[in-house]
């Protein structure tokens, strides 16, 4: 880009709208969309799996099994449900981050237009 300068001032509110023209979406928007789609897909799948693990520890209760090892097994099954719920929380956090993208607008101007806009 020839002669580009980066201004750190905000675009003046008085800038005439007829000076502006739309440009193709920036690559960063496409990248964010890709990430959001990917994470949402993974999140749906992982949440379903983890819900299965966390939902019904009694399916693994093994009621006929007695003794210290059996009790320890049932404790670990219960702890597994908690661990699965925690994992689901991490998955949801990643999804929130992916959805939490913000949109900003930049304006690139020719030197002439810039001079007009910023006296």
């Amino acid at each position: 880009m020839v002669g580009m300068t980066t201004m750190t001032t905000a675009l003046p509110a008085t800038t005439s709208s007829n000076l502006l023209a739309a440009a193709p979406a920036c690559v960063c928007t496409g990248a964010a969309d890709e990430c959001r789609t990917l994470v949402e897909t993974l999140c749906r799948s992982a949440t379903a799996i983890l819900d299965d693990v966390a939902a019904d520890p009694s399916a693994c209760a093994a009621d006929g099994w007695e003794g210290q090892a059996a009790d320890l097994f049932r404790e670990r099954i219960a702890a597994l449900a908690v661990r699965a719920a925690d994992a689901a929380g991490l998955v949801a956090a990643a999804r929130l981050t992916a959805l939490d993208a913000t949109t900003v607008t930049t304006v690139t101007m020719t030197a002439t237009a810039l001079a007009e806009a910023v006296p």
């Binding site: 020839v2 739309a22 440009a23 983890l50 320890l72 597994l80 030197a111």
Partner: protein, 516 residues
């Protein structure tokens, strides 16, 4: 190296079809969940790479730098030579916190993998506690054994060449992993073919055809009979055949009251290590066994005989050659083994009555002696239960009335010397231990009490003790029944332990002896 041993259990109490279905369903459910979580964890790991790739595309974005942070938060202005001729161009950007997202994907992957590992560990515990894969494992081992045995008899050179190559591969692995020239790795690499090879050697020694070996068992025991015919003569010439058994008194008690198999194994190890230690002050030397007496409330006596393994001393009844005689398929050969004679003589000296319940606990040769006595001494003693550790006893004709709890390590070789898997039934239970790396977060075995710096042969008793500890921790009902039988077989109060030492010589000593 953090060494742990993981155990599987075969034999013992047989579970009902309904029980197997219930526990099989749990195992299947947990396995499915483990697989799903593993796949999901893998996908989230890959997502990190995909997001990093998208992040790398931001270098083409005028509003972002390489880290995905906007140069100007909000609106920025740039003066450019615009080829379209427009005075100004607005561009919409999307700001995403890529760094956080990548980290969160990693956290999610790790959490999913942890859930998968726990599902797998729990599934493994149930499967091992209820021996759900016992039949499949036994069948696959039997198939491999028979195929290797067939090959060893049909093409001995080629088969032993393959074994040699496997051993070399193990040695190469040892060198590659920085363990130096460690022959235990070479031995470990041949674990899968050891029983078949030894059965093949037995067939070759006795002239059995490869086809006969496919259906038969006990080839190594027949081979041992053939070998012992010559080796016992040489042994008698070198070592003598006069057995002297005397009572000895240790400086400190080595064998105490046992309430379960684990106690008995710990005492067995204490006796075995004390008698072999150089310069130890236990007062017990090699070739020593212990006999403990228990008295029930009604005055009935029961006994626990603790028998260590081979010590290899020149005048000990627990030498190397005696193993061959003990392994024989001929009772008349087994009962002439010096170690067998010594233990039987000590049992007589201790005053064990014909109706007294006797439990024998032995390591290595001590376990073979136990199995031989349980096979051949039914008229003189009531052997209720034997516990063997690292002993090849699969083909010993142990009486049906005797319960057998056998502990073997997968790669120890010695337990494979019988060339066959142990019988499996209500009264015969086998715990098989496998070494696992205990340094991983998901390790779920029992630790070995003397953790070696290098990989060593697993025939040492501490490995069997760890295998039994892991088996116990599984909560197997089959093992619990054997534990209960063990405890009932020595019911009563502990009434002390007597120690007996055996020596071989060419000349009759005149002390208490057992002669041929």
């Amino acid at each position: 190296m953090t060494t742990q041993v993981q155990a599987t259990i075969s034999g013992g109490r047989q579970y009902s079809t309904a029980d197997k279905a219930v526990y099989g369903t749990i195992v299947t459910l947990l396995d499915d969940q483990a697989n799903s979580c593993q796949s999901a964890a893998s996908a989230w790991g890959n997502a990190q790479l995909a997001i990093e790739y998208q992040r790398s595309r931001l270098s083409w974005c005028a509003a972002a730098n390489g880290t995905g942070t906007l140069v100007v938060a909000g609106t920025s202005c740039a003066a450019v030579a615009d080829p379209t001729g427009a005075a100004a161009v607005t561009t919409t950007h999307t700001v995403l916190d890529y760094g956080t997202l990548v980290a969160q994907c990693g956290d999610a992957a790790a959490a999913l993998m942890a859930v998968a590992d726990e599902c797998e560990a729990l599934s493994s515990r149930v499967a091992r506690a209820f021996s759900l894969y016992e039949a499949a494992e036994a069948l696959s081992r039997r198939l491999v054994d028979e195929i290797v045995q067939f090959a060893a008899v049909h093409s001995p050179l080629a088969t032993f060449g393959v074994a040699g190559l496997c051993a070399l591969g193990g040695l190469a692995y040892s060198l590659a992993t920085g363990d130096g020239v460690n022959w235990t790795h070479a031995l470990n690499a041949t674990t899968w073919m050891q029983q078949g090879l030894l059965a093949g050697i037995g067939s070759l020694a006795t002239g059995r055809s490869e086809w006969a070996g496919l259906l038969a068992t006990g080839e190594t025991n027949a081979g041992a009979t053939w070998l012992a015919a010559g080796s016992s003569r040489v042994k008698n010439l070198l070592q003598g055949d006069e057995l002297t058994v005397v009572e000895v008194e240790p400086a400190t008690p080595l064998v105490g009251s046992a309430t379960g198999v684990a106690d008995a194994l710990a005492d067995l190890r204490r006796l075995g290590t004390a008698r072999l230690a150089d310069g130890d002050d236990s007062g017990v030397d090699y070739g020593t066994i212990a006999i403990s007496r228990y008295v029930a409330a009604d005055g009935t006596a029961s006994w626990l005989v603790t028998i260590p393994g081979t010590d290899g001393q020149w005048d000990s009844p627990f030498g190397w050659e005696q193993n061959l005689e003990l392994m024989s398929d001929d009772a008349s050969v087994r009962t002439q083994a010096d170690s067998y004679r010594m233990v039987v003589e000590a049992m007589r000296m201790a005053g064990i009555g014909a109706d007294d319940s006797v439990v024998l606990v032995g390591h290595s040769q001590g376990g073979i002696v136990a199995a031989a006595i349980a096979s051949d001494c039914g008229d003189e003693f009531t052997i209720s239960h034997i516990v063997t550790a690292g002993s090849p006893i699969a083909n010993h004709p142990v009486a049906d009335s005797t319960w057998v709890t056998a502990i073997e390590m997968e790669d120890e070789l010695v337990a494979a010397l019988d060339g066959d898997d142990n019988p499996s039934g209500e009264t015969w239970l086998t715990v098989r231990g496998t070494l696992v790396d205990g340094s991983t977060a998901t390790a779920s075995g029992a630790p070995v009490m003397t953790d070696p710096d290098d990989y060593e042969i697993t025939h040492w008793l501490e490995y069997h003790i760890a295998a039994y500890a892991d088996a116990t921790s599984l909560g197997s009902p089959a093992l619990a029944v054997h534990e209960q039988h063990f405890a009932e077989s020595i019911a009563g109060d502990y009434d002390g332990t007597t120690y007996y030492q055996g020596r071989m010589s060419h000349v009759e000593s005149g002390t208490t002896t057992e002669e041929e």
